[in-house]
Symmetry: C2
Subunit: 628 residues, 2 copies
């Protein structure tokens, strides 16, 4: 690394949070372009889209150049993610030029580079978690592939058997097509059966012909749905855990290595001591530089943990632990006086006031409010057009507000809203928004004489959400909920992962299928066929599925979510070859990504059940206890 | 324990395998009575059913009395399973008397005690594995209950929100009913959505009204289907593992304890040795008594493992290991000469014969047969009415037969058919049955001029099953398959568990719902309504689901399997209150039992991936290597 002032300044600038936010903003803009690009949800002329995209591209290029200036040249070119970003940028530019030229001459053109956009999210340095998830998938692939091939082999064998058993019997499916006569159709139908999407339907013709044939389908489902899907989960879970361990080990090793290097810079000799040590002064300086927001008391606490024997200096081993020490969140229970106490001590410390504080903190207070919430739930369930019920809302709102105010009176506000008090934040936000929405709604009703549906929706949602709070007062639920809240942040990585995959599939799907179906809001001649003659009177149109299409990016995403949940026979809709797209989607999203998600939730709960505090935290706690 | 000769003889008689088989046979007969009892698949008069059941009851009582004579009286009455069996027998008797009396006077009567029958399978001593599975479920229940309550709470909250958001909008479902207006209906619909059975349908009316409402359903599915179902799996898996460990630990402790007691009986003093020891002679006697089929060489091997230092006696520690030693299956690679070699050594050991043996064991031989199998697969896929294809079957059959004969020539037959050679057994059984079935089929065609559909079905199935063999020659598949084959026996416990639960639900379902629906084979006026006016032109009848009913025990079982796979809206079929039955079934079977099954498969694969040989096996192997 270069240690010249300009280089350091450039490095600090690169790591400035504003630039990071800017980068994410432009990645988001770049991804959201799909909304206005053809096939568009909101139409925007091509030149405008191009302009915005060029703008994004220049920001990305600027960031890349900045990064290249910050780190040594050979390191930059060795890192595959930089190469990847560079190639994506170049390909996008080439695609834009081709597309622009073709469109200008009124030719058919495909914006194929849109598929590459989400890869930027993966490959920019900030997406470390996401890259780790992708690496983990890549590492699991060989083992998944073995199981997958065996699984496909099993489906092929069953298909062949089904063809031989049912093909010559002249059975008909429910919509009159011949049953199990074409090998590829059989394979596809049985693949869909694994997902259980067409579960009894596909079996009914054979089962109606003879009860014995049910055995075939039961064995098929047992082997493929239950056993193979579990094996997939086992393989994904096993690899996930193995890889996670490896990653954590490597991270710890890198951290140790860096800390040792830092120690080598800070070390000094101490008389009567063979090993080099770090003095309290330089340690203090360092910590103050790294975490300037740490209070003096907290810093002293950490030092006293590191320096067991009160020698005024620490050795290499204790120094290396510093990073771990800094990571532990010590909830500083500052017994700061309540603002009201400072303002008027006599009043706040008077007997009735003290009595009120004790009452608010009492168990009965919590129970009373649990009962109020339950009563509120009943009121919500009743018809809100009754004026009594409608006005009761004000009563409940004021009760909830009162609760928050009472708690704020009893507890120091900054402690009440400290970072780990999830439920206090939740309460306040929900109640205040409900209050604001209800006031707006009432104002609109009394002024304009009508109430907006959107605002009412928000009011109703907030009202119901308030009820969730009751869960927190039951201890056995709190453990589960806290685990779920704890894994929340990591789930964001998953959200990104799934958005990357969905985006790619949505782009491809939109290019392939857009305009094939149309959704008609009102009764119109096209409704019974979704605007596609091939679907005239099909069960797809009859079931009102027309809105499940790839006509714009929003409906594409919703359709992909539906496909994740149940991979329905949407496939047969336009053309048999479209099935390849849907099977591919199922393999990647359901078999791999959903299993990783499940593995992740499983691991989180296993860890929660067997969690034991690490040594370091325990030593810190001991010190706190010693200090009183 | 009583050690009188009569008592010992009684005890030995009790443990005789024939009595065990007899007991299982009568339990099976008792369970199968459901086939002939009303509502019957095959009609049998009531007195005949009663007679058979009485016969079963007397056998069970006899067994119980026998058991009571064998073990001490206080132990007998302390064991809950004996009490349980006794109560079941009494209740069954009472039920039979009431039922008989009511039927004799032509009153309506319910055979409620049939629900208790599968409990006999659980509670007779032989069902130890099954009891363990039930105990494991019972132990997991409290934790499952917490998650379940939270899950139900989440569904209730979402239902309330759905009611508020969609109820007043005047939306209609696809069959014209009002959408989300009744709270209980909403709860049920959303519960079914968790199982993904009604996935896009339930969402379509809201989604068609506005795309924003899709967000509600996506969040619902994310939380309830993905997160909560994973948490259920985590809880079940965690408890399963914890409980398994506990059971294994206890088993080992009991075994140790018993071995120590045996040691106390056999121990003797040895000069120059402080601790009591067991001599080689008494050890030999004991082993010969316990496992009389053990060869002398094997016994000597075990002794030399136990007696490291060749002292002629062993201490307590080495003696206690005996049970584990006996459990290890030493595959005695008896280099026994081939029978042909004994019969004509000159011929069998001649150069062409040796060359043939080498060729058969060569890799190329396996590959040639893999190619043959693949070619065969193509031929099976083609139309078998073409005479060329039809006759090719004989060619392939003879090739397969030749393979088996060649292998039998090269390998000693008893080694070839030893217990761990799964694939050799598989091959031989499939090929020989295929040969027999094909011959019967050809004979029938040439004699009667027609071929039986049943025999053809069997022929086709066997033909396709032959292809599975190809998997065994690919190494990466073999690992997975071997794990699956290894867990096969334990899966039998699951099969029993699921049969117990299915049987109970089938009995209840048959009493509640039998005769509500009818299945009509041909076109008949009742077909469009499944014989129930309430279902006239319903989508249930239109989808041809009429055969999914509780009219007899076979269709009940098949329906329950279908419900396990996808808990469809079968429920709305006759009466809304029937839904309780289906939700209960889903909770017990899908949430608990299927998760245990998945946990079990997961555990098997995790163990397989991290398997390390136990110390004892290693020490045995070392000894074998030492001995050469």
């Amino acid at each position: 690394f270069d240690t010249e002032p300009t280089a350091v300044r450039l490095y600090l600038l690169y790591n400035h949070w504003l630039l990071g936010v800017l980068l994410y903003f432009f990645i988001l803009v770049n991804l959201l372009l799909a909304v206005v690009e053809q096939p568009a949800l909101v139409y925007l002329p091509i030149w405008a889209c191009m302009l915005v995209e060029l703008c994004c591209l220049s920001v990305f290029s600027g960031r890349l150049v900045h990064y290249a200036k910050v780190i040594p040249r050979d390191k930059f070119w060795k890192d595959p993610k930089n190469i990847c970003v560079l190639i994506i940028l170049l390909l996008t530019l080439v695609d834009m030029i081709i597309y622009g030229a073709l469109k200008a001459t009124d030719n058919y053109a495909v914006r194929w580079s849109r598929v590459l956009r989400p890869l930027l999210l993966v490959n920019f340095t900030e997406g470390r978690q996401l890259r780790r998830a992708f690496r983990s998938i890549r590492n699991a692939l060989p083992q998944i592939l073995s199981v997958f091939l065996l699984f496909i082999f099993s489906i092929l064998i069953f298909s062949l058997m089904a063809l031989k058993l049912f093909g010559k019997r002249g059975l008909k499916t429910n919509d009159g097509r011949p049953y199990f006569t074409n090998f590829l159709e059989v394979v596809f139908d049985l693949y869909v059966l694994v997902t259980t999407a067409n579960s009894p339907d596909i079996m009914m013709p054979a089962y109606n012909a003879s009860s014995f044939f049910a055995v075939f389908f039961i064995i098929f489902i047992l082997i493929n749905t239950y056993i193979f899907m579990s094996v997939f989960l086992a393989v994904v879970y096993n690899n996930y855990k193995k890889y996670l361990k490896e990653e954590v080990r490597q991270l710890v090793r890198t951290k140790r290595h860096k800390m040792v290097r830092a120690f080598a810079i800070l070390q000094e000799r101490h008389e009567g001591w063979e090993e080099p040590v770090v003095s309290h002064t330089s340690w203090n300086q360092l910590v103050r530089l790294v975490q300037s927001d740490l209070s003096h008391a907290h810093r002293e606490l950490l030092w006293s943990v590191a320096d067991h024997h009160n020698q005024g200096f620490i050795g290499k081993l204790a120094f290396v632990q510093l990073a771990d020490l800094l990571n532990i969140q010590v909830i500083a229970v500052k017994s700061r006086p309540h603002p009201l106490q400072r303002w008027s001590p006599a009043l706040y410390l008077s007997t009735p006031s003290r009595w009120l504080c004790r009452a608010v903190k009492h168990r009965v207070f919590v129970m009373i409010y649990d009962v109020i919430i339950l009563v509120n739930a009943v009121f919500i369930g009743l018809d809100e057009e009754d004026p009594l019920i409608g006005n009761s809302e004000w009563f409940f709102l004021s009760l909830y507000l009162l609760e928050i105010l009472l708690k704020l009176y009893a507890v120091e506000p900054r402690a009440f809203y400290s970072r780990h008090n999830f439920w206090n934040w939740f309460d306040t936000i929900i109640i205040v928004s409900a209050l604001v929405a209800t006031i707006i709604n009432t104002a609109m009703t009394s002024v304009g004489g009508y109430s907006s549906r959107q605002i009412l929706d928000i009011v109703f949602t907030l009202r119901v959400l308030r009820l969730i709070r009751v869960v927190d007062s039951i201890k056995r639920f709190r453990v589960i909920l806290n685990t779920l809240i704890k894994i929340g942040p990591t789930m964001l990585t998953f959200a990104q992962l799934i958005i990357v995959v969905y985006y790619i599939f949505a782009m491809v799907g939109m290019e392939l299928f857009h305009g094939k179906l149309q959704f008609f809001d009102s009764e119109s001649p096209g409704k019974s066929s979704c605007g596609n003659p091939a679907l005239q009177d099909s069960s797809f149109a009859k079931m009102n599925y027309c809105k499940n299409n790839f006509n714009n990016v929003v409906s594409s995403f919703i359709l992909l979510v539906e496909l994740t949940v149940v991979n329905h026979g949407f496939t047969a809709v336009t053309h048999p070859s479209a099935r390849i797209f849907f099977v591919l989607f199922h393999i990647i999203v359901v078999i791999i990504i959903i299993n990783i998600f499940v593995a992740f939730v499983l691991e989180a709960f296993f860890v929660e059940y067997t969690l034991e505090k690490s040594l370091l935290i325990t030593s810190l706690e001991k010190k706190i206890q010693e200090l009183g």
